[in-house]
């Protein structure tokens, strides 16, 4: 090992979204002069491009291309069975991920001569110094920085279930390597990742069963949205066991048996594959954060202020390793930029309140701001309206009427404080909610804004109009 300490202006632990956005911002602010060490293992770009956002959205889109022609919605359009080769879809997915990693990460960072990449895991030996070790645990470098950024992300949790390890399972890290579509799948965990993977496999033709410990899906969403989504997924053929706890897993011939306890007692299903989607935990254990004086919450997530400063001066954190409510690529990148900007003396604060989030099932779910319940708990009262896509011209033309738009306002002055959308393109139209919540727009601002007719986005305007008039008495073009 080169035991000499290599000195940098900034040491970044991590090579994912938070790390890249931080390194690029720091390079921009210093005109390429800031020397930066970027440490990490695994493919460049981290979770989002390699195991998260990108492959999951690729798989979902491919699966919808199979499912839609088989389930036409409009009169006179006949069912068409789509021919596809699952192994080639997966090959295409992996090739796209490789391309995205190369063009958006590997080639990008090559342009920054001030950034040095280190392969290995970093561990603090003091507040300013990190020792980097390779996969055999051999120390390969020691680096120190005037400023430190921890952006080590997270990994899937694997629950301690009897027989799980011996039987074998997939996670959102490993599923991208499969070539054969499992004929049947049990997904343990009905959160965003479980539902996205589940619907993708279902649309390709797998029999999918979701086993969820809670009594509702997506607890961060409005209850109407969680239950509507569950109903639509059930209509497509997804099976749910709610308030179910998996007790035992074992091999049963060529199949895998999953035993679980529900209100009915002990139940059991046999499936070809098991996917664990029970959440993620931060990659902070290895870092020896105590030595650095960095405080964590009970789950090991790093506690930061809104400026992304940790409890140790000169040490910042960003991304999925940070203690917060939502774990998203968009937030990771924003937090990276916030941390670095503050190293340069700015007063930037991360705005979680108007951050948008999404689940990419079909229909998609997207939201911003507070739910009805959150606002009324905080302020005593609130006002909200739910608009069904059944009353929207565009949705009824295409037959995609599964969906609702819910807007929550402060009853004092009709300021929009939250919006949640269940719609085919909710992830695109939620940006209107982000503006409304972020800028403090009122219901009248949305109504006064031009929306295309007929479009799904018009539903946001109609949801806003439903605060002031009875929509059933309204012609389609009333302003």
């Amino acid at each position: 090992m080169n035991s000499e300490v290599q000195k940098f202006d900034l040491v970044i632990l991590g090579r994912g979204a938070a790390a890249f956005s931080a390194a690029i911002k720091a390079s921009e602010l210093s005109n390429g002069e800031m020397t930066i060490a970027m440490i990490g293992v695994g493919p460049l770009g981290g979770t989002c491009v390699n195991f998260g956002c990108v492959p999951s959205k690729y798989l979902l889109e491919a699966s919808h291309s199979v499912f839609r022609p088989e389930h036409p919605r409009m009169a006179g359009i006949h069912t068409t069975m789509v021919k596809y080769e699952f192994s080639e879809v997966m090959e295409g997915l992996r090739s796209y991920v490789g391309h995205a990693r190369d063009t958006k990460y590997a080639k990008v960072i090559e342009n920054y001569s001030n950034v040095s990449l280190f392969t290995g895991l970093g561990k603090f030996v003091d507040k300013k110094t990190v020792v980097v070790s390779d996969s055999n645990g051999k120390d390969v470098a020691v680096v120190s920085g005037s400023n430190m950024l921890i952006a080590t992300g997270s990994h899937p949790t694997v629950p301690n279930i009897e027989g799980l390890k011996e039987t074998g399972f997939l996670t959102s890290d490993t599923i991208w390597g499969i070539n054969d579509l499992p004929e049947s799948v049990a997904i343990i965990g009905g959160g965003a990742i479980g539902l996205e993977l589940g619907q993708a496999l279902l649309h390709f033709g797998s029999k999918v069963t979701v086993i969820e410990a809670l009594d509702s899906l997506l607890p961060q969403t409005e209850p109407e949205i969680g239950s509507a989504l569950k109903m639509y997924l059930e209509e497509e053929g997804m099976k749910f066991y709610m308030r179910a706890r998996v007790s035992k897993i074992n091999k049963n011939g060529g199949m895998k048996s999953v035993e679980f306890i529900t209100h009915k007692g002990n139940e059991k299903i046999d499936v070809q594959e098991i996917i664990i989607a029970t959440g993620r935990q931060p990659n902070t254990e290895y870092l020896d954060l105590k030595t650095a004086g960095v405080d964590t919450d009970p789950r090991g997530l790093i506690i930061t202020s809104r400026t992304m400063k940790t409890s140790a001066s000169g040490i910042y954190a960003a991304g999925d390793c940070v203690s917060k409510k939502m774990f998203l690529e968009t937030l990771a990148a924003r937090e990276g930029v916030t941390a670095v900007s503050n190293m340069f003396g700015e007063d930037m604060k991360i705005d979680y309140e108007s951050a948008t989030w999404a689940v990419f099932t079909n229909p998609q779910v997207a939201g911003v701001g507070m739910t009805e319940n959150e606002f009324s708990r905080k302020n005593g009262s609130c006002s909200c309206r739910i608009f069904s896509l059944e009353n929207l011209t565009k949705a009824s033309i295409t037959g995609e009427t599964e969906g609702i738009i819910k807007i929550t306002v402060d009853p004092k002055d009709n300021t929009v404080v939250g919006m949640q959308i269940l719609a085919p393109n909710a992830t695109d139209i939620i940006t209107e909610g982000a503006y409304a919540v972020g800028k403090g727009y009122k219901i009248d601002d949305i109504i006064a804004t031009s929306h295309i007719f007929p479009s799904i986005s018009e539903g946001v305007k109609l949801a806003a109009q439903s605060f002031i008039r009875d929509l059933s008495k309204m012609a389609c073009c009333v302003e």
Binding site: S30, N31, E33, G314
Partner: protein, 77 residues
């Protein structure tokens, strides 16, 4: 008065003129007692009266704010 030495990493300095501009800017700041800038290292040692100014406030000095192209970060924290 509580004297403290703060080390800054200063980006964007290419010549002696830059050194003068940055030094001058820092010296004008209330609470700054002395400024030594190294062009070679791109750094500065600033004596401050920490009763009057916190080290981070140096980063907000006018000379490090847009439209100036100089920027700084703290080195020892």
């Amino acid at each position: 008065m509580k004297e403290e030495r703060v080390k800054l990493r200063i980006y964007g300095m290419t010549c002696d003129d830059c050194v003068n501009t940055v030094s001058h800017g820092l010296k004008k700041q209330d609470g700054v007692l002395d400024v030594k800038i190294s062009l070679k290292d791109g750094s500065g040692e600033i004596e401050i009266d920490s009763d009057k100014i916190e080290p981070e406030k140096l980063l907000k000095n006018e000379v490090f704010e847009k439209p100036s192209h100089y920027r700084a970060t703290l080195m020892d924290q």
